[in-house]
Homo-oligomer: 156 residues x 2
């Protein structure tokens, strides 16, 4: 290589090196900002998610307060109606969040049921014959298994 | 510069350039992975946050169901007791989420109160004299202003 060609190559290399260094510094700074923003975003995200659900529950708290007022006035019919309303509204609010009742009409399923007791019955062995506590799923996840009584088969 | 010195400088520069390029590629790959992981984390975070709150509300739904059973059996005392329990438990669950009742004992505050009506009273002008609907804050945020009646001063 001539001295001239070498000097030119040297200049090119310097330019390449400087360009990579500038890119590196830029990407590092972006990454850093992204990391900081993400931490802030996550807090805000959880806060907002909660805010919406808590806000939906306020009318339910109001209705319960009104039902209690009715109880104090001994307005039994109004109290009962209020409780029915609250129950329906809370169940609907939770359904909107994705809550689903676990079905109990059929055979015992260890993935979603918890057997509290097994007892003889007219139903075939392994059938769910009573529900002690309802079970619930949220999406794919079992939040709480249904607590059930299972048939151990014919008593004869 | 001698030819030899130039050649050596050229090698050094190549090494520097390659090292910056390698760093750049590594940081870019890390950034990319971080971005993907963050998106997954955020979904999981919101899901988990919701799960916990929904799970806390299940016993309240159960208690309401039991209160309704009591209503059907016309066990009025049990119904009233059940409603009182549900009201307390729901209020406590929401308090744990950071919900606070907005105080209404004092002067009208447009940041947290909504004046539905202004009417003459013995109280001084601008005092809150009645609450139509309770207001709530979640942390610093007003979820719902308290809807109040404000005194317009002495009726004389």
């Amino acid at each position: 290589m001539t001295l001239e060609a070498l000097a030119k190559r040297l200049q090119e290399l310097e330019a390449e090196r400087d360009s990579y260094l500038a890119d590196l510094q830029r990407v590092k700074a972006e990454f850093d900002n992204y990391r900081k923003r993400t931490a802030r975003d996550q807090e805000a995200l959880v806060a907002r998610a909660h805010e919406r659900l808590v806000f939906e529950l306020l009318p339910i708290l109001d209705d319960l307060g009104r039902a209690l007022d009715a109880a104090e006035e001994h307005e039994e019919a109004k109290l009962e109606e209020g409780v029915r309303l609250v129950h329906r509204n809370l169940a609907e609010a939770l359904r909107r969040e994705g809550l689903e009742e676990i079905p109990v009409d059929g055979r015992f399923d260890p993935h979603v049921h918890e057997a509290l007791l097994s007892q003889p019955s007219e139903e075939e062995e392994g059938a769910v014959i009573d529900v002690v506590q309802k079970g619930y799923k949220l999406g794919d996840k079992v939040l709480r298994p249904a607590r059930v009584v299972v048939s151990s088969g014919n008593a004869d």
